[in-house]
C-alpha cells in the first residue's frame, strides 16, 4: 500500500493510503478483455470490379485498347490486347527463386509489357484478369497485387 506523508501548515503530517488492489483488479480485467478481443491480423482491402465481356464498367468513352491477362495452369499467362492494336503474347512461368520451390508467375515480364503499353497508350488505365476455373483465389490476388502498382484499375473477368 502506498503511503504519502504530506507536510501540514503547522508541522503535522497528513497520511493517506492509496489502495492499489482495486486498481490492479481493474487493470487485470482490462488487459484480459483487450487480449481476448485483439486481432493481431492487419486486414486490408483490395479494390476490384468485374468486367463483363471485356468492357470496362466505369469508362464513359471506350479506351484505345482493352487488355486482358489470362492466367492458366502451371503458372502460364497470356496477355491479350484488343482495339487499336491486336496482340496475343504468351508469358511462361518464371524459374523458382529457391531450389526445391515451385514455379511462379512471371510477373517481371508481364509488368514490363504492361509498362510498355502504358507508355504507348496514355488512356490505358484498366485491365481485366481472368483465368482457369480451378485456379485458386490467392493466385489472382497475387497477380492483382503486382499489377495494381502499375495500373490503377484491375478487374476480374471471365463472366
Amino acid at each position: 500500500m502506498g503511503s504519502v506523508n504530506l507536510p501540514g501548515g503547522d508541522g503535522g503530517g497528513q497520511d493517506f493510503e492509496l489502495n492499489l488492489a482495486p486498481i490492479i483488479d481493474c487493470l487485470v480485467v482490462l488487459i484480459t478483455f483487450m487480449l481476448a478481443s485483439a486481432t493481431f491480423l492487419s486486414i486490408g482491402i483490395l479494390d476490384a470490379g468485374i468486367s463483363a465481356g471485356g468492357a470496362t464498367t466505369t469508362a464513359t468513352t471506350p479506351p484505345s485498347i482493352v487488355v486482358t491477362v489470362e492466367l492458366k495452369k502451371d503458372f502460364q499467362m497470356q496477355l491479350r490486347v484488343e482495339g487499336k492494336e491486336t496482340l496475343t503474347v504468351p508469358i511462361g512461368s518464371s524459374a523458382p527463386a529457391n531450389a526445391g520451390a515451385s514455379s511462379q508467375w512471371n510477373m517481371p515480364e508481364l509488368v514490363q509489357k504492361i509498362r510498355g503499353l502504358r507508355q504507348k497508350y496514355a488512356d490505358f488505365g484498366a485491365l481485366t484478369i481472368q483465368g482457369d476455373n480451378q485456379l485458386e483465389y490467392r493466385e489472382f490476388v497475387t497477380v492483382m497485387d503486382s499489377l495494381r502498382k502499375e495500373i490503377p484499375v484491375v478487374m476480374l473477368g471471365g463472366f
Partner: protein, 178 residues
C-alpha cells in the same frame, strides 16, 4: 545434569528466556511494480487496438490471401467464402462442399440461386430504406472475405450473384504483408 545442560547452553535464564522468532504471518507484496507493468501492457494494447467502422474477423480455419493493400475498411455488406459455407453478414446462406457449389444451385448465368435470393432481399431492403430516408444512399459495395483456396469458379459464382443484384463495387479482404 540439567545445570550442566543449562550451563552448556548459557544458563537457565537464557534457555527459558531464549528469544524465539515467531513465524511471520504477514508477507508484504510490492504491487507498485506490478501496477507499473500492467499500465505499460495496457497502454501497448490500447495503442494496437484496431478501431474501425468495420471489424473483419475471419472464421476459424479461413485463410485470407496476402497482399500489400492500402485501402481502408468501410461499412458494407460482407460475404464470407469458407470451405463449407457462404455467409452473408454472418448468416450462412449456401452450403459448399470443399469450396464448390452444388451443381443444382448454379444457374446458366453463373449465379447461385440461394445467394442471389439473399442479395436481392438485402438490396430490396436497402432500396426501401433509401426511399423512406433521403439521407441514406444505396450502397453498391460488397466486402469479399474469401479463403485463399477458393477456386475461381466459385468466386465467379459469388460475384455474379452479387452483380446481378446491384453489388458491383467489390472489396477483397486480404492480410497486409507490409
Amino acid at each position: 545434569m540439567s545445570t550442566i545442560g543449562l550451563k552448556h547452553f548459557g544458563g537457565k535464564r537464557s534457555l527459558l528466556h531464549k528469544k524465539k522468532h515467531a513465524p511471520s504471518e504477514e508477507m508484504s507484496l510490492n504491487i507498485t511494480a506490478m501496477a507499473d507493468i500492467f499500465t505499460v501492457i495496457l497502454v501497448f494494447l490500447l495503442k494496437s487496438y484496431a478501431t474501425s467502422a468495420l471489424d473483419i474477423s475471419p472464421t476459424a480455419g479461413l485463410k485470407l490471401p496476402t497482399a500489400g493493400a492500402n485501402d481502408t475498411l468501410e461499412e458494407a455488406t460482407r460475404v464470407e467464402i469458407s470451405e463449407n459455407a457462404i455467409l452473408v453478414d454472418g448468416t450462412p446462406i449456401v452450403a459448399l462442399k470443399t469450396f464448390q457449389f452444388q451443381p443444382q444451385d448454379v444457374e446458366s448465368n453463373q449465379s447461385s440461386k440461394q445467394l442471389a435470393k439473399e442479395f436481392k432481399r438485402l438490396r430490396d431492403r436497402q432500396l426501401l430504406i433509401a426511399k423512406a430516408n433521403s439521407d441514406v444512399k444505396v450502397d453498391a459495395k460488397l466486402i469479399v472475405v474469401s479463403d485463399q483456396r477458393v477456386p475461381y469458379a466459385s468466386l465467379k459464382t459469388v460475384l455474379a450473384s452479387a452483380a446481378l443484384n446491384g453489388y458491383t463495387d467489390f472489396k477483397l479482404a486480404v492480410v497486409k504483408n507490409d
